[in-house]
C-alpha cells in the first residue's frame, strides 16, 4: 500500500547546478547565521563581508555561465522556471544587490559607524544606546538577513508555482521588515516604518495566499503552466477565477507599490536606513515586477483581455498620483519614494502590452531605474549634517558650490529619472511607450507623457536648488566616502550613461531572452 503511494509520487528532481545562484545565496545566509553564533564580535563584520561578496560573485557567475540557451529549463519538478527573463532578472538583482551591499558595508561616512543601529534592542535615545554606540558595537545580523532576502528574490522571480512564489515572497520580505527598523539615526521613525511595512506586508501576503488558494480551487493546480491550461479548458464559475486573479493581483501590486496599494512606500522608504531603502527601491522593485510579469503573463496569460483594463487603470493612476504627490514633497527620501511609485506606473504601462517587446521593455526599465535609484540614494548618504543625513531638500541650496561632483552626479540621476535623452531613463521610457503603443494603449501613453512632464518638475527642482541657489549658512556638508560607496556610485553612473548612449548592447541581450517558459 505504502509502496504504491510512494510510486505515484514522483521522485523530486533537483537540478543543483541550475539552481545554484539561489542555493549559494541561501548557503551564504546560513553561514552568516553561524558566524553570528560562533565568531567573536570584532571578527564578524569582516567574515560577513567576505561571505556575502563571495556569494554574490559566485551566484552572478553561475547566472552568467548558465543563462545561455542550454540553461533554460523548468526545474525542481516544474516549480522553478529558469528562462530568459528569469536569468536576466536574477542577474540584475545580484548586480543591484551588490551595489546595495557596498552601501551596507560603508562605515566611513558616519563618524559613529555604519548606517545601522549599534544595538537594535536598546531604547532609542536611551542610556544603553549611548553605551552601545560608544563601545562601537555593530548589528552584524544585517548580513545574513540581507543574504536571505537576496535568495528569496532570486527564487521569487523564477518561481513557477504559486506556493513557491509565496514562500519566496516571505523569504524575501521578512528580512526586509527587520532591516527597515535598524536605522542608526532617527530610530523611532525607522521602527515605525518597520512595523508599518510588516503589518501591511503581512496583510498583502495573506491576500496573495488567499488568491492562490482560490486559483487552486478553480484550476486544480498551483503550477503556472497548468493554471494556464486549467483556465483555457474550464468554462464554469468565472466568479471564482475573477476573485482569484483580483486577490493575486492585489498581493503583487502591493509589493510593486502601485496605486492604490502604495501607502506603505513613502513611510517605509523614508524611515529605513538609506542603504536598505536603496535595496528596496532597487533590487526589491526588480524582484516584485519580475514576479508580477511571470504570474500574469504565464499563469493568467489566457485572460489578458480581462485583466488588462485593470492594469491600465492602475498604471495611469500610479503614474499620475505618484508624480503629483511627489511634487509636494520637501524631503528628498520621500520624494524619491513617490518617484519610485510613479516609475512603477511607467513599468506597468509597458507591462500592460503583454508582448515580447513588452517583456524586454519592462526588463530594461527595471535595470535603468534600479541603477539610477541606487546611485541617487548612495549620493544621499554623503550629504550630511551633524544629526545624520540631510534629506530636507531646501537645505541642499547651493550644494553644487560645495561639491560639484556630488551635485553633478545627483543631477545626472535626476535627469535620468526625468527621462531626458542620452540617459538610461529615456531609453527606458522610450521602450515602455513603444511597447504600449504597439499594444494599442495610446491613450495610456498620453497619460504617461503628461505624468512625465509633471514628474520632471520635481526632479529638475533638485538641480535648481543645488546649482542655482546660494548656499544657506550651516547647511549640509558632503563627506568623502570609502571605496565601497565610491564604487556603488560610479557603477550606477556608468550604467546610467551607457544605457543612454549605447542601449543596443543591453537591448540585444534582453530581446534575445524575453520569452517565458511555461
Amino acid at each position: 500500500m505504502i509502496q504504491t503511494v510512494l510510486n505515484t509520487i514522483p521522485t523530486p528532481s533537483f537540478e543543483y547546478a541550475l539552481l545554484s545562484p539561489i542555493l549559494v545565496m541561501f548557503l551564504a545566509a546560513c553561514l552568516g547565521v553561524l558566524v553570528e553564533a560562533f565568531l567573536p564580535n570584532e571578527k564578524r563584520r569582516f567574515a560577513h563581508l567576505i561571505i556575502v561578496f563571495t556569494a554574490i560573485l559566485f551566484a552572478f557567475f553561475a547566472v552568467v555561465l548558465q543563462s545561455g540557451p542550454n540553461g533554460r529549463a523548468l526545474v525542481a519538478n516544474g516549480t522553478v522556471a529558469l528562462d530568459g527573463p528569469g536569468w536576466i532578472l536574477q542577474g540584475t538583482i545580484l548586480l543591484v544587490a551588490a551595489l546595495s551591499a557596498l552601501l551596507f558595508a560603508e562605515s566611513k561616512i558616519d563618524p559613529l559607524g555604519d548606517a545601522f543601529a549599534a544595538r537594535a534592542s536598546t531604547l532609542p535615545g536611551g542610556e544603553e544606546e549611548k553605551i552601545a554606540t560608544k563601545l562601537g558595537w555593530a548589528q552584524t545580523e544585517i548580513w545574513p538577513l540581507f543574504s536571505f532576502a537576496i535568495s528569496g528574490m532570486l527564487l521569487f522571480v523564477t518561481a513557477n508555482d504559486l506556493l513557491v512564489l509565496f514562500v519566496a515572497l516571505e523569504v524575501m520580505s521578512l528580512p526586509l521588515y527587520l532591516l527597515a527598523g535598524l536605522a542608526r539615526r532617527r530610530r523611532l521613525l525607522s521602527q515605525e516604518a518597520a512595523l508599518k511595512y510588516f503589518i501591511l506586508g503581512a496583510l498583502a501576503s495573506a491576500i496573495l495566499l488567499f488568491g492562490s488558494a482560490l486559483t487552486y480551487a478553480y484550476t486544480g493546480s498551483l503550477e503556472f503552466g497548468q493554471i494556464s491550461n486549467g483556465i483555457s479548458s474550464a468554462n464554469n464559475s468565472p466568479g471564482l477565477l475573477t476573485a482569484a486573479i483580483a486577490l493575486v493581483a492585489v498581493g503583487m501590486l502591493f509589493k510593486v507599490g502601485a496605486v492604490p496599494f502604495h501607502q506603505w512606500v513613502p513611510d517605509v522608504y523614508t524611515g529605513s536606513p538609506t542603504p536598505v531603502t536603496s535595496f528596496m527601491a532597487g533590487a526589491v522593485k526588480v524582484a516584485a515586477f519580475g514576479g508580477l510579469l511571470r504570474v500574469f503573463y504565464v499563469a493568467f496569460g489566457a485572460l489578458v483581455w480581462d485583466w488588462r483594463p485593470l492594469i491600465w487603470v492602475v498604471a495611469g493612476l500610479t503614474m499620475v498620483v505618484g508624480s503629483v504627490i511627489a511634487l509636494a514633497q520637501s524631503d528628498f527620501k520621500r520624494m524619491l519614494a513617490y518617484s519610485s511609485v510613479s516609475n512603477g506606473g511607467f513599468i506597468l504601462v509597458g507591462f500592460s502590452a503583454t508582448s515580447r517587446p513588452a517583456i524586454a521593455a519592462v526588463l530594461i526599465y527595471l535595470i535603468a531605474y534600479a541603477f539610477a535609484t541606487v546611485g541617487a540614494f548612495a549620493l544621499l548618504t554623503l550629504i550630511r549634517e551633524q544629526a545624520g543625513e540631510s534629506s530636507t531638500l531646501i537645505r541642499w541650496k547651493g550644494l553644487g558650490k560645495k561639491s560639484p561632483v556630488v551635485a553633478g552626479l545627483m543631477s545626472l540621476f535626476m535627469l535620468s529619472f526625468a527621462g531626458i535623452p542620452l540617459t538610461s531613463g529615456f531609453t527606458a521610457k522610450f521602450g515602455v511607450f513603444t511597447a504600449a503603443i504597439s499594444g494599442g494603449a495610446t491613450a495610456l501613453v498620453l497619460v504617461g507623457v503628461i505624468a512625465s512632464a509633471i514628474a520632471a518638475v520635481f526632479y529638475i527642482r533638485v538641480i535648481i536648488l543645488m546649482f542655482f541657489s546660494e548656499p544657506i549658512p550651516e547647511g549640509p556638508f558632503v563627506v568623502v566616502p570609502s571605496i565601497f560607496t565610491t564604487i556603488a556610485i560610479t557603477a550606477s553612473a556608468v550604467v546610467t550613461i551607457i544605457l543612454g548612449l549605447f542601449p543596443q548592447v543591453v537591448i540585444d541581450l534582453i530581446s534575445s531572452a524575453s520569452v517565458f517558459l511555461r
Partner: protein, 507 residues
C-alpha cells in the same frame, strides 16, 4: 562613405569642451582661447563645407554620414546637409565665436562652466540641424534643453531659477508630446514599409498616411515646434527666460536654438506631413499673423529692455512661420533669410545692450537716457541692429520681411495685410526704445557709461558686415536654399501662383 566632414564639424566644439577640462600643463591656452579657437575652427570647417556644397545637386542631402545606433528600432546616427540646414549651420558657426568674444565679461567667476555650456549649446545646435534621422533629431531637440537650462540658471538674474525651470518645462512638455507622436509614426512606418525607420528622407518619400493619422501626428510635432519657436499662445516662457538670462545666453537661445522650431516645421513637418500641413496652413497663418501683431504691441508696452527684445522676437517668429506656411517659393526662401537676419539682429541687439546693462546691472528702459553722449559707438552698433530688426531697406531684415510678405500675399491676402501693419508697430517699439535709451537728456545713470573698446567692436563688427551684405546681396542664402525649398514644394505638392499680368513679350 564620404569624408566625414559633418562629424568633424560636430565634434570640434565637443573636443573644445573636453580640452577645457584637461589640466593646463598639457594645453598651452587659456579657457577663453580654447573655446574661441574651437568655435573658429568649427567656422572654418563650415566654410570649407559650404564651398563644396553643390547647389545644383538634385540629391536631398549631401555629405551624408550614417552609423547604426539602435538597429532594433531602425535608428541610425545619420547626419546630412540640405540647403536649409547649411544656412542654419552657418548661422550657428558665425554666431558662436561672436558670442564668445563679446561676452567675456559674463564669465569672470565661473569661466570654464560658461564656456563649456556655450560650446555644448553650439554642438547640439549643429547636431539638430544636421540630423537626418528623426530619432536623433528628437534626442538632440530634448538634450539641448540642458545646456541652456544651466546657462540661464547659473548665470542669470535674480529670478534665474524660476526662469530656468519654466524654460525647461515648456521644452519638455513639447518634447514629450513629440515623443508620443514619434513612436506612433514609427509604428505606422513598421506597418506600412515593413521595417522600422526614422530616416527623414525615407519617411517623407515613402510613407502614405491616412488623413486622420496624419493630422494627429502633424499636431504632435507642431506642438513641440510651436512651443520652441515660440508662437502664441505658447510663448510665455521666452520673455521670462530672456529677462533673466545673460545677453550671451539669449543670443544662443533666441538667435540659434529657437530656430529649431521653425527649422523643424520646414524640414520635418512639411516633407513628412504634406497634406496636413496644407490643411492646417490657414489656421497657422492666422496664428502667425496674430503673433506678429500681438508681439509687436506687447513689445511697445514693455518697461524692460530684454523683455522688449523677447516680444520683438515673438513677432518676428510669426513672420518666419507665416512665410513657411505660405507655400510659395518666395515666402519660404524669405523665411530662411528671415531666420538668418533675425539671428544677426538678435545677436546685435542683445550683445550691444548687454554691455550697457552689465555696467548698470539694470535693464529698465526708464533708467537710461542720452547714452549716445557717453557711448557713441555702442549707440551706432545698436542702431544698425535696430534698423535691420525693423526691416529698413538695405538691411538683411528688409529682404526677408519683404519676401515673406510678398509670398504670403500671393495666397493669403488678409493675413499678409495685417502683418504689414507690424512694420509700423516695429518703428514704434524699436525707435521709441532707441529714443528713450540712447537719445534725449542724459540721466544720472547713463552719464558714466563706458563705450565699447576695440575688442568689443571687433566682436560685433561681423554682425554689421553680414547684416549689410545680406541686405544688398542675399543671393548666397537664396542660392543655397533654393533647391531644398523647391524639393519641399514638390513633396507638399504646392505650386507658385501664376503671375496675374502676362508677360508683354507674349502678346
Amino acid at each position: 562613405m564620404n569624408f566625414p566632414w559633418l562629424l568633424i564639424v560636430l565634434l570640434t566644439p565637443l573636443i573644445g569642451t573636453v580640452l577645457l577640462f584637461v589640466p593646463k600643463r598639457f594645453v598651452p591656452f587659456s579657457d577663453q582661447q580654447i573655446a574661441l579657437y574651437s568655435s573658429l575652427i568649427t567656422l572654418l570647417f563650415v566654410i570649407v563645407i559650404a564651398l563644396q556644397f553643390d547647389i545644383s545637386s538634385s540629391a536631398t542631402t549631401q555629405f551624408d554620414i550614417a552609423f547604426d545606433w539602435i538597429p532594433v528600432f531602425g535608428i541610425t546616427f545619420h547626419l546630412g546637409l540640405t540647403g536649409i540646414s547649411l544656412v542654419l549651420v552657418g548661422l550657428t558657426a558665425v554666431l558662436t565665436p561672436i558670442v564668445l568674444l563679446a561676452t567675456e565679461y559674463e564669465v569672470q567667476k565661473k569661466n570654464k562652466e560658461f564656456l563649456m555650456w556655450i560650446l555644448v549649446t553650439q554642438a547640439s545646435a549643429l547636431a539638430v540641424f544636421l540630423a537626418r534621422d528623426l530619432f536623433l533629431f528628437y534626442v538632440v531637440f530634448e538634450a539641448m534643453l540642458i545646456p541652456i537650462f544651466f546657462l540661464v540658471g547659473r548665470f542669470g538674474g535674480p529670478k534665474k531659477g524660476a526662469a530656468a525651470l519654466k524654460f525647461i518645462l515648456f521644452g519638455l512638455a513639447g518634447g514629450l508630446v513629440m515623443l508620443a507622436a514619434l513612436i506612433w509614426l514609427y509604428f505606422v512606418a513598421v506597418n506600412q514599409l515593413g521595417r522600422g525607420t526614422f530616416s527623414i528622407t525615407a519617411l517623407s518619400n515613402e510613407l502614405k498616411l491616412d488623413a486622420w493619422t496624419e493630422r494627429w501626428l502633424f499636431l504632435g510635432f507642431f506642438f513641440a515646434f510651436a512651443l520652441k519657436a515660440p508662437m502664441i499662445p505658447g510663448h510665455t516662457w521666452l520673455p521670462d527666460t530672456a529677462e533673466q538670462a545673460t545677453p550671451g545666453t539669449s543670443t544662443m537661445l533666441i538667435g540659434i536654438l529657437d530656430k529649431v522650431g521653425t527649422y523643424g516645421m520646414l524640414a520635418i513637418l512639411l516633407p513628412i506631413f504634406p497634406n496636413a500641413s496644407i490643411e492646417f496652413a490657414p489656421v497657422i497663418i492666422g496664428f502667425a499673423a496674430l503673433g506678429i501683431i500681438y508681439g509687436a504691441l506687447i513689445a511697445i508696452a514693455q518697461k524692460n529692455i530684454k523683455r522688449t527684445f523677447a516680444y520683438i522676437s515673438i513677432s518676428h517668429f510669426g513672420f518666419i512661420v507665416m512665410g513657411i506656411f505660405s507655400f510659395t517659393s518666395i515666402g519660404m526662401i524669405g523665411s530662411v533669410i528671415y531666420m538668418v537676419a533675425h539671428g544677426l539682429s538678435t545677436a546685435g541687439l542683445f550683445l550691444t545692450v548687454g554691455y550697457l546693462i552689465r555696467q548698470k546691472e539694470n535693464s529698465l528702459i526708464s533708467n537710461f537716457g542720452g547714452v549716445t553722449k557717453a557711448a557713441p559707438v555702442m549707440t551706432g552698433l545698436f542702431l544698425i541692429a535696430c534698423l535691420s530688426s525693423i526691416a529698413l531697406p538695405g538691411m538683411a531684415g528688409f529682404v526677408a520681411e519683404f519676401m515673406v510678405l510678398t509670398g504670403t500675399f500671393q495666397k493669403y491676402k488678409i493675413p499678409a495685410i495685417i502683418a504689414t501693419l507690424a512694420i509700423i508697430l516695429a518703428a514704434i517699439y524699436m525707435l521709441w526704445l532707441y529714443q528713450r535709451v540712447f537719445t534725449g537728456t542724459e540721466t544720472k545713470e547713463s552719464s558714466n557709461i563706458i563705450d565699447l573698446n576695440r575688442k568689443q567692436i571687433l566682436a560685433l563688427s561681423p554682425l554689421v558686415a553680414l547684416t549689410l551684405l545680406f541686405g544688398f546681396y542675399p543671393a548666397p542664402i537664396i542660392k543655397i536654399s533654393e533647391s531644398t525649398i523647391a524639393y519641399t514644394m514638390t513633396l507638399v505638392g504646392a505650386t507658385d501662383p501664376q503671375p496675374m499680368i502676362k508677360k508683354a513679350v507674349n502678346q
